[in-house]
């Protein structure tokens, strides 16, 4: 191989697409846990989490308490950064590029432009190319995922329905994204233009996915995962890793449940392991039946 390929330069550069997307590659097969205090962050790290999401209230409490939900206090995020050695993520409101600037200035490792917080812009998501820090964004289908990637997202998570402890929406979104990708692969080249139009996504990205059969960034799952079996099911449905929000610290024995979900995510295809780690976990978080959740309280419909 020649050593004079064009990409070789003498300077070190930060914030390249490869560095941002590569960070998500390192999280694969892992569990990212919502935490609201340094103590919870330590519990998550000791249980084997690959990263923590620092926030002021877990989605279940955001749901219960209502009001406008915003970026967390920088002091609170600093406390969590100081407490653990693993990556720390934090949420900014959809479209709130200044919250994202603040999170980058604090030194968080990933920004989640999240529908769990109250959106700040009803037309535009954040221009994520403008940042050194990488972004993860939620999606309910392939078109939404590709629009976020076009805006610079370096990682995608299926949205699910956060704070419900009910995995049904996560299942729907994972199946939708994977199904959309499979359908693209079956199209011939002439049909990809219409597919791009239907998906409301850039043609180049659509053509790339039709060819490779996968997103150009890592795909995690989120929103309603509460048990080791939930996590393993999402992995079997094609997720490359798992976000667990309220599911851990709203349960009876967070440390034990956290470690069990980590193990089930690694051995997602081994029912014996999943059975073993599912024993004696105490109470799971109380779930919400989606049929009783009014449209106005659904978080997954935020963002477009």
């Amino acid at each position: 191989m020649s050593s004079s390929t064009p990409e070789v330069t003498d300077t070190a550069v930060t914030g390249t697409a490869r560095v941002k997307r590569g960070m998500a590659e390192m999280l694969k097969g892992g569990v990212i846990m919502d935490v609201v205090t340094p103590e919870q962050a330590k519990i998550a790290e000791d249980a084997g989490a690959v990263a923590v999401m620092a926030l002021e209230r877990v989605p279940a409490d955001i749901r219960a308490e209502g009001g406008v939900s915003r970026m967390s206090d920088p002091d609170m995020i600093d406390g969590i950064i100081a407490a653990v050695s693993i990556p720390v993520m934090a949420k900014a409101r959809i479209g709130h590029f200044v919250e994202a600037q603040v999170l980058q200035a604090i030194g968080v490792d990933y920004v989640d432009e999240s529908e769990v917080l109250t959106p700040a812009d009803e037309a535009n998501h954040i221009d994520k190319w403008a940042f050194t820090v990488p972004f993860v964004c939620g999606a309910t289908n392939l078109g939404e995922a590709l629009r976020r990637i076009a805006e610079g997202a370096a990682m995608i998570r299926s949205k699910g329905e956060a704070g419900t402890g009910n995995v049904v929406e996560a299942t729907r979104h994972m199946r939708q994204i994977r199904g959309d990708i499979k359908r693209l692969a079956a199209l011939d080249e002439a049909e990809l233009y219409a597919a791009a139009k239907e998906l409301r996504a850039p043609y180049e990205l659509v053509a790339e996915i039709a060819k490779t059969g996968k997103l150009p960034v890592v795909l995690f799952t989120a929103g309603g995962i509460a048990t080791p079996a939930d996590a393993a099911m999402m992995m079997q449905l094609g997720a490359e890793g798992v976000f667990v929000g309220s599911g851990i610290f709203k349960s009876g024995d967070p440390a034990k449940r956290a470690a069990a979900i980590v193990k089930a995510t690694t051995f997602y295809d081994d029912p014996d392991v999943i059975a073993k780690v599912s024993r004696g976990l105490g109470e799971a978080m109380v779930g919400i039946n989606l049929a009783t959740l009014p449209e106005s309280e659904r978080l997954a419909t935020r963002g477009w």
Binding site: M26, G29, V133, V262
Partner: protein, 196 residues
């Protein structure tokens, strides 16, 4: 060894698929390793990038830590990138309380030494005299110091830090050659496996 060697990728967590793809491109047969029986079936092992704390916890929980240590000690060729480098270090700085490694490489590695994700970077470096390559560093460790038997194979431009080392059958890099499609590091490792 004339036929393609079977090289395992430790698949507890991390960028397993990228390493497997690079190994195949370098002429090896790649398989994943999560259980002691799978470890016994491989000629050599790659410990991928990921979180070293997570890998340690899972290796311990699934009784893989001791078998891994035994194989490494008995001379199985092993390559670790980033978290894998930490796993192969005899001593680490910046680990969490009680954090254990497989060890084998006589060196001190500092975790997250290059900084947080906003400091993650790519740069060009010469690996083992095989020409310049683009190297991707993600919350990367560096080698603080090495013992007399450790050969330094690469330095990173910021601060001339040690980022690639070899000691006998053990190879480690702070960076991620599996992310760039440049297979020179994996080819070097496959050659090591064939020679040993």
């Amino acid at each position: 060894m004339t036929s393609a060697p079977t090289i395992g990728v430790l698949a507890l967590q991390g960028d397993v698929r990228e390493h497997a793809r690079s190994l195949e491109a370098a002429g090896a047969r790649a398989v994943t390793v999560r259980r002691p029986a799978e470890l016994e079936a491989v000629d050599a092992l790659v410990v991928p990038g990921g979180e070293s704390t997570t890998m340690w916890k899972l290796a311990e929980a699934f009784e893989l830590l001791e078998p891994l240590r035994l194989r490494v000690k008995s001379g199985m060729p092993t390559y670790g990138s980033c978290a894998g480098m930490i796993m192969l270090a005899d001593r680490i700085e910046g680990g969490i309380e009680g954090q254990q490694t497989l060890g084998g490489l006589d060196m001190v590695v500092r975790r997250n030494a290059f900084g947080r994700q906003v400091d993650s970077f790519e740069a060009s470096l010469d690996f083992a005299g095989r020409g310049l390559m683009r190297a991707v560093f993600i919350r990367a460790p560096w080698v603080e110091s090495v013992g007399a038997d450790v050969e330094v194979l690469g330095l990173a431009e910021p601060g001339d830090r040690i980022v690639a080392v070899r000691q006998g059958p053990l190879l480690a890099t702070s960076f991620h050659p599996e992310l760039t499609g440049d297979t020179r590091v994996h080819s070097y490792f496959v050659e090591m496996v064939r020679e040993l």
